[in-house]
């Protein structure tokens, strides 16, 4: 394990600091609250000559992602950061980045989508992008943000993956909250990420590395109709499946240099848990605190923090939750008109065919940054215990902390 330095960083600074150490070729970004600290810090690194990066202060998020796509297609490492409406404006380009198989890394500082305009945290932005073909990593604290912003390059650039990666961190709760972060040396980070590898493809003029190369020209992003488009989508599907295997491998390597390992998801007190909450992001810190409290009272409570939402670690969840009596799914986003939130629907799908399965109920919470203190999480657990007592869920879809 290499030597580490303890720094006080908020989530945005942790992302910016990690990217400084990565020293990517191109950073193209547009300011949006609560992501701004990332671009501000990074601009300072550029201004002080601490990175060699070409920083493009673009005129919109759409152009931010377009620049990253152009840069990554030209063989560069490209990074951007955004939030909420910025991510929404990029929507078209998210699919294009993923479908062109460009391993761009993006920090998404999760914020509620307009309207009404709201700058605070929920997951409606990145959940809206869950079908875009990006790998999604959700972080609980600044340390995880720092580590994910380093690991993401290796995951996305892996020759069997070749997909862009979103590192999601909760707006304000993480982005603006100073925490202790253990950081690696610049050399360790650079050694860990190495040089960007390229896959070899058969181009129309012969074999070539998959990038824009004047010596071995390729046509990227052609018109692709019903005779090939579907096969290209199959490649993406396969890449996501492979990412499920690659992520823990990279994570193991990262653990060797950092001592920190994250894997796909984090169970806590799950060995004998009868009721458990599952969710994403910073809220899971609060849930852990409540689990401890309930355990002291003799309640067999547990929790699972999902770190990777795309690709969805179905096998691991089946294994982990099969014996639990009642599982509550925390969703900080709602799909309007759907039977439940996005994580809930995924989990229900995963367990539909299972012989042994928990009763699964959904809790939509925290929309627009609505505070979620321990007592609300306790309320959710109370609900799970009630379901356990009855042996059935009277109301599968519940809302926490809303006047309704």
């Amino acid at each position: 394990m290499s030597e580490q330095r303890l720094l006080g960083l908020n989530g945005d600074e942790a992302a910016a600091y990690a990217i400084k150490q990565v020293n990517p070729d191109v950073v193209a970004a547009y300011p949006i609250t609560p992501q701004t600290i990332i671009v501000e810090r990074f601009s300072e690194y550029v201004a002080d000559g601490l990175v060699d990066t070409e920083f493009i202060a673009v005129e919109s998020e759409h152009s931010a992602m377009s620049c990253c796509i152009g840069a990554a297609a030209a063989g560069a490492r490209a990074f951007t950061a955004t939030a909420a409406n910025g991510l929404a404006l990029m929507w078209e380009m998210l699919y294009i980045a993923a479908s062109l198989r460009l391993p761009i890394v993006m920090a998404v500082v999760n914020r509620a989508l307009s309207a009404p305009i709201n700058i605070h945290n929920d997951h409606s932005d990145s959940m809206g992008a869950r079908d875009s073909g990006w790998i999604q990593i959700y972080c609980e604290n600044s340390q995880e943000v720092y580590d994910a912003c380093i690991e993401a390059w290796r995951i996305g650039e892996h020759l069997e993956v070749q997909l862009p990666v979103m590192v999601c961190l909760d707006g304000f709760t993480l982005s603006h909250t100073m925490e202790n972060v253990l950081t690696l040396s610049d050399e360790t980070v650079r050694e860990f990420i190495g040089e960007r590898p390229y896959i070899k493809v058969r181009g129309h003029l012969g074999e070539a590395e998959f990038r824009l190369d004047p010596e071995k020209p390729l046509t990227m992003g052609p018109l692709d109709l019903y005779d090939f488009y579907f096969e290209h989508k199959m490649h993406q599907i396969e890449a996501m499946e492979k990412a499920l295997r690659v992520i823990p491998e990279i994570d193991e390597e990262y653990a060797e240099v950092s001592g920190r390992s994250y894997r796909l998801l984090h169970p806590y007190m799950m060995e004998d848990a009868e009721v458990a909450l599952i969710g994403l992001g910073s809220t899971m810190g609060t849930v852990r605190h409540v689990v401890d409290r309930l355990r002291k009272r003799g309640v067999k409570a547990g929790m699972v923090k999902m770190r990777i939402f795309r690709p969805f670690p179905a096998e691991e969840l089946l294994e982990l939750l099969r014996g639990v009596e009642v599982v509550g799914v925390l969703d900080k986003a709602m799909s309007f008109g759907a039977p439940g939130g996005p994580l809930y629907e995924e989990l229900k799908t995963v367990f539909y065919d299972a012989d042994e399965k928990p009763i699964i109920v959904n809790y939509i919470y925290g929309l627009g940054g609505r505070d979620t203190p321990p007592h609300l999480i306790e309320e959710a657990f109370k609900g799970l215990l009630e379901v356990k007592r009855r042996g059935e869920a009277v109301e599968p879809l519940n809302y926490l902390g809303v006047r309704w």
């Binding site: 070729d25 152009s63 020209p217």
Partner: protein
């Protein structure tokens, strides 16, 4: 230097856009693209906005591009080019990465009028303001031809399109063509030029000049579309020439020197400036295109023809003033 290009030499240079693509017979776009690419200095990367030129040259698994080429979306050719240029610059600075070895790299973005006047204007403006070293080629066929001839900000006054049809009450498009060159020149970029495929040498020289300047360069090409403009495919070059001869589409270049835009008329338009009697009436341009047919049939709309002539005259006068003529 750019003036060194001669037709005799240029015919020997390879065509970087191969034949066999699926653009319509009589389409001006591949002519323009080939001439622009001929003028490149060596290593080159191209990006193309969504449109005819993109879809008809790259139907997977075929491609007509002999150079590295990327299409990402419709409204962002300038932003995609910005990213490519930034990647090259960063690799040059670091001295590593696959593009680090290229001392010069011509980066060219092709986009149509829809991708430039309308949906791509923001990305274009941003890229020009940031000063990326790239050449933007506007291939202007004056409507959304790829989707079936819908009007754009580049469609001229009175032109019939499928969304500005010539009806019994409204005679085609009601708005004037957006002065895109003036908008681009207002960004104070080092080089802006208008070109017509009827004047290939002028086109190649300007493309070379665009590649040579440091910073953004903008080439505005008039690109007659036989399907959308309604003329037979063997008259493309003739239409492109008459556009210049009537001063509907004058040829000039504008360089910014000491912070001032210096306008210079190109030979075909300069000849008209010197001998104004050579300027053909705009009617000659309108008459050969079916999209203006309703100005002549069932009855002659003298008022509208006159209005278009006044627009041409006024813009021509303004250009002459700017060129100090």
């Amino acid at each position: 230097m750019s003036s060194a290009i001669t037709l005799k030499e240029a015919v020997k240079w390879p065509d970087l856009l191969a034949s066999g693509h699926r653009l319509c017979a009589g389409c001006a776009e591949p002519i323009i693209a080939r001439l622009v690419l001929k003028a490149s200095r060596g290593a080159i990367i191209a990006t193309t906005a969504t449109g005819c030129l993109e879809v008809a040259t790259t139907i997977f698994p075929y491609s007509a591009w002999r150079i590295p080429w990327i299409h990402t979306a419709f409204e962002n050719a300038a932003a995609t080019a910005s990213g490519i240029e930034a990647a090259w610059k960063a690799m040059r600075r670091k001295g590593r990465g696959p593009l680090a070895k290229y001392e010069t790299l011509d980066i060219v973005a092709f986009a149509g009028d829809g991708g430039t006047y309308d949906i791509g204007l923001q990305a274009l403006s941003g890229a020009l303001e940031r000063g990326h070293d790239f050449t933007y080629v506007l291939v202007d066929n004056e409507a959304y031809m790829n989707t079936g001839i819908q009007r754009s900000g580049g469609t001229p006054y009175c032109a019939w399109t499928t969304t500005s049809p010539a009806g019994t009450v409204i005679p085609g498009k009601r708005e004037w063509k957006k002065p895109i060159d003036e908008i681009v020149i207002a960004h104070e970029i080092p080089y802006v030029a208008t070109v017509s495929p009827a004047y290939p040498l002028d086109l190649m020289r300007k493309a070379r000049a665009a590649f040579e300047v440091e910073g953004p360069a903008f080439i505005h090409a008039i690109s007659p579309c036989c399907r959308g403009w309604r003329f037979p495919p063997n008259r493309t070059i003739e239409v492109a020439r008459i556009a210049v001869e009537t001063c509907f589409f004058p040829l000039y270049e504008c360089r910014v020197e000491d912070g001032r835009p210096i306008y210079k008329l190109s030979p075909p338009s300069l000849a008209i400036a010197k001998k104004p009697e050579r300027k053909k009436p705009v009617e000659e341009y309108l008459r050969i295109q079916g999209r203006f047919r309703h100005l002549f049939r069932p009855e002659r709309r003298e008022d509208l023809i006159e209005r278009i002539q006044r627009w041409v005259d006024r813009r021509w006068e303004i250009l002459l003033e700017k060129a100090g003529l």
